[in-house]
Symmetry: none
Amino acid sequence: MARRAGTTGAETAEKVRKAALELFARSGYAAVSMRAIAAETGVQAGAIYNHFPTKQDLLNELLRVHMETLLSAWEEVEVPGLAPPEALEHFVRFHIRYHLDRSREVFISYMELRSLEDENFSAIEVLRRDYEKVPRAILERGAADGSFAIIDPQITTMAIIAMLTGMTTWYRENGRLSLDEIEAVYVRLVARLVGQKEED
Amino acid sequence: MARRAGTTGAETAEKVRKAALELFARSGYAAVSMRAIAAETGVQAGAIYNHFPTKQDLLNELLRVHMETLLSAWEEVEVPGLAPPEALEHFVRFHIRYHLDRSREVFISYMELRSLEDENFSAIEVLRRDYEKVPRAILERGAADGSFAIIDPQITTMAIIAMLTGMTTWYRENGRLSLDEIEAVYVRLVARLVGQKEED
Amino acid sequence: MARRAGTTGAETAEKVRKAALELFARSGYAAVSMRAIAAETGVQAGAIYNHFPTKQDLLNELLRVHMETLLSAWEEVEVPGLAPPEALEHFVRFHIRYHLDRSREVFISYMELRSLEDENFSAIEVLRRDYEKVPRAILERGAADGSFAIIDPQITTMAIIAMLTGMTTWYRENGRLSLDEIEAVYVRLVARLVGQKEED
Amino acid sequence: MARRAGTTGAETAEKVRKAALELFARSGYAAVSMRAIAAETGVQAGAIYNHFPTKQDLLNELLRVHMETLLSAWEEVEVPGLAPPEALEHFVRFHIRYHLDRSREVFISYMELRSLEDENFSAIEVLRRDYEKVPRAILERGAADGSFAIIDPQITTMAIIAMLTGMTTWYRENGRLSLDEIEAVYVRLVARLVGQKEED
DNA sequence: GATGAATGAGACTTCATTCAT
DNA sequence: CATGAATGAAGTCTCATTCAT
């Protein structure tokens, strides 16, 4: 049968992306079939191939777009002249907010890297490294100007990212603390990690 | 054909466990076939079913045994009377050493929880919670006796675990720092997170 | 590859039904593989699943449709006002003709009931009972109006059905007697079973 | 492990026969696995092969022994000089009693003939034909001496056997009629089929 | 004579993908 | 652009059978 009235190809592609994101996050790339994505989208499996050449391309696009969006979102909110302590706080708040809003993208970005074929994997890895350079640079500036007392910049960077990203595994919207409170806690924890003096 | 001379069932079962661990860690549970595990083990796929009723049982056993072993390993090295700062350092060193030795078990314990069927999932979750209680209890003791200045016990606990476990994703045996050095860095980072005074 | 030009799904489904009927009758449900049905149909095994969800559903549909068709075929030829002796003769001729035309359906309807899962089994049983009510009712009418001298209505009903249906196990198209002759013999045998007076 | 104390090979072989009979009757030859038979027997599948070379041999032995036993049981009770009416009644009573006692053997003798490989099938067919000759001979004697008014000897023979054997499909031990009563009904039905005068 | 472990084939079913319509 | 039907490969698991112990 032909396309139903009132739908456009772009709409379908977007619905496929949403469905795939949801399902990959819930069950993992390998465990999700094109038929399952199609069912969630409301089309037959064959229709997906009008928009994405292969299942692998679908995953790759999700991850690539996520990383690109993350990077450009940071570029948009970044405040260039900020002193390291304020810059780090700014980054922490950005990272938490952004990652909670896209918890499924974040999740599959960590989980499904290994499902990418080599070439795709490498491209995503580059983007990931780029993002890791953001806190790393702040740490190094802070170490240089004496506002931080960094133990080891590389490990501290990874520790910060792991700590912040780990939040997506336990955060629930109606938990004990509000998002603002959690953010505040993490800002202070990160400050401690980099050896800032407590200001309260 | 029957069993080849000189082999035993227990050996095969162990080889299957090893192969499955390796492959699940590398490619993920859903992406690994029983045939692939069998090939790595050196038997036909059907032979696995003499030792494990289903693929799910195989995963479940790996995860269950890992968590049980982790818990009993801790119980064995735990030093009951230790003051909170020393207890925390002890835990950090234990966790790092143990997790690096079993990086694949750790990896699939985090990655493949979602591949467990409901009942199996619940059982493993209980064990995971049990393990999280270990640092949590130390933090609370330290908060009570004033040796720590904890910002938020729950978040700090999760942050410590995420930070430490994240190491398995980037640690390489011949990297810039030795394991001893890395351990020392993490001990200090954790000390900062819980608000201990720097002792150096 | 996709569908070959000039074929339709309905055709394939029908070919699958035919092949399954043939093979189930010859070798039994459990001894026939989906691959064998597919080979007889001229498609790959997977293609069957576009038309029948499971092998069990395929069997179930064959049996259900057979029983429904049998019942509605009877309803179509039934002559309501007929006196019991003529009604019984009418039924005997119908049963023989119908069952010889569909000897494979009849065969698997008796043989493969036990291969049906519980729910499917119950549904088919209901239809079978409905069909058995047809001769039973004629017998009872004939007993009531004195045209028959029934020994025991239930046993006689079962005896008639067993006797008639048993014919499918030995009937061969080019045997000693023509179908018309066989029919005539059975009409007289049934007349004897119900205690009609011989009219010749 | 070796044989458990107190069991003998002959016992196991007999238990295997019983289990196979039971399971073949319930689910059909093709649907029953050697493992299932072994489980019902209380041994491992491999042990069956100490007593029966293949699954096919097991089926074949069950059918062959059944037919041989049936034939020799008849030979034992047969009363040579009996007049046709009494001989037929004698046969009917024998057939019913014998078949109800061995309903599973009877059932698989009809159902699983097609599961026999060619050579085995032919051998069993010979025995079946031998048994069918028994009523056939009585009918012919009765036709010759005028005590029966047979419509068609072959069809009547098959009708009698189908009718009698069909009973195993609906007979229940605690049904409406006792076995004696059922027997009496069938004796009279058969007498009608062969055109004897009603004697009551 | 029995066990337990193995093989190699094959069971049902699902999969990613293709393509006529 | 979507459907529905197909392929060919592969998935998990079971099977009859064999054989070292």
